[in-house]
Amino acid sequence: MIDVMDDLARLTADSPLGKLRRERPDVVKHLQGSDDVIFSPADDGGLMRTERAAAALRIAELLRDDALVAHYRARLSALDPSGALAKTVKGDARTEGRWDAILAHVDLVTREPGSAERKDIDDLLTAGLSSHAIVSLSQLIAYVNFQSRVLAGLRMLRDAK
C-alpha cells in the first residue's frame, strides 16, 4: 500500500526506493500518522480542515513545489468546492482579519523562522485563535516544510543514476 510520500514522489511500494523507505518502518508509519492528524484531526481545536488545506497550499506555493501544490490544491478543492478559500491563497485578495493573520504567520514561519517574535503569537491570539489552534497551525507549517525536504530527497534518489 502506498502512502502520501510515495504518492507525491510517484513511487510504488515495491519500487527500489519504495522498498528502501520501508527499511524505516517507524518513519513511514509516523510520517503518515502525522499527515493524518494534521490534516484530519479528531479535534481541530478551531482550525478547520479547509483552513489547514489552504495553509498547506500556500506553503507549497512559497516552496515552488509543483507536486505539493497539486496535492494540496486537490485536497482543498475536495473540502471547499466553491474555491473561495483557494482564491485567497495567492495573496492578492485581502481577507478578514483572522485568515489574514493565519496567512501572515504561514509566510513568516516558512520563510524566516528565525525572525519570529512574541508579537507574532500575540497577533494570532488577538485574531481569536485558541492556544490549541496556534499549536496546530505551527505544527502544520513545520510539517509541510519537513515534507517538502523529504520529497526533494526522495526525488533526488529516484532520479539519480
Binding site: S34, I38, G114
Partner: protein
C-alpha cells in the same frame, strides 16, 4: 542568518514559551498520553507542555523524531546530528545548533569539526565525507526545490549508501520542522541570565 553558536553545556537550557503551557494538573488523558506522563514521571519541559495543546500532532511527532534520529543501522548517529546542525545554522536556531553540535562532538570525539562550523558556518572546510553531508544538508534546508538528481553524486562518491542518504534527508527535514517550532512558539533563554531570552 549565521548567528554564532553558543555553548549551552554548562546548565540546563530554559525555553520561554509565548503561549501558556498546558498545566499538568488539569491536562486531559489525551494530553498526558501524548506527553508520556505517568505518575512516576512528571518531568516534562515547557516546550512539550506547549505542544501538548495539540496532543494528536505531538503523539505522532515524538515517535517520528525518535525513528529519524535514533533508528538502528544506516547513517551513523553523529552524521544525523551533523545534518541537524547544518539545518539549524541555516534556519538561524543557535540553540538547536549548539545542542546538536555537542551531541556530534560527544559521539565522535572530534571537537574540531564543530569548532570549524562554529567559526565558518555551513561554509566550513571539513574532511570530504562530512563536507558532502554538510553541503547537501544546507542546500536541502535552504531551497528544497533546487535539489536535483545531481546532488546525490557527491554523497555517493563519499561512500554513502542510498539508505544513508535517505536517513540524512529525514534528519535534515526533521530540523526544518523542529527549528520552526522551537523558534516561533517561544524563545530559548540564556542560562547565564534566567528569564532573559537569547
Amino acid at each position: 542568518m549565521n548567528k554564532p553558536m553558543r555553548d549551552f553545556t554548562h546548565g540546563e537550557l530554559q525555553w520561554l514559551p509565548w503561549i501558556t503551557p498546558v498545566d499538568l494538573d488539569s491536562a486531559t488523558p489525551e494530553q498526558l498520553a501524548a506527553l508520556k506522563v505517568t505518575p512516576s514521571n512528571r518531568a516534562v519541559g515547557a516546550y512539550s507542555l506547549v505542544l501538548a495543546h495539540d496532543p494528536e500532532a505531538l503523539g505522532e511527532r515524538s515517535p517520528l523524531y525518535n525513528g529519524i534520529m535514533f533508528g538502528q543501522k544506516g547513517l551513523p548517529r553523529a552524521e544525523r546530528e551533523l545534518g541537524a546542525v547544518a539545518a539549524s545554522r541555516v534556519n538561524g536556531c543557535a540553540y538547536c545548533a549548539s545542542v546538536h553540535a555537542l551531541r556530534f562532538s560527544q559521539l565522535t570525539k572530534q571537537p574540531e569539526v564543530m569548532e570549524r562550523i562554529q567559526a565558518h558556518g555551513v561554509d566550513a572546510a571539513l574532511e570530504p565525507r562530512l563536507k558532502a553531508i554538510l553541503d547537501y544538508s544546507a542546500k536541502l534546508t535552504r531551497d528544497p526545490a533546487a535539489v536535483t538528481a545531481a546532488d546525490a553524486a557527491p554523497l555517493r562518491a563519499q561512500g554513502l549508501t542510498d539508505l544513508e542518504i535517505l536517513d540524512l534527508t529525514h534528519a535534515v527535514a526533521m530540523f526544518a520542522w523542529a527549528n520552526r517550532l522551537m523558534q516561533t512558539l517561544g524563545a530559548p533563554a540564556d542560562p547565564a541570565q534566567p528569564g532573559r531570552a537569547l
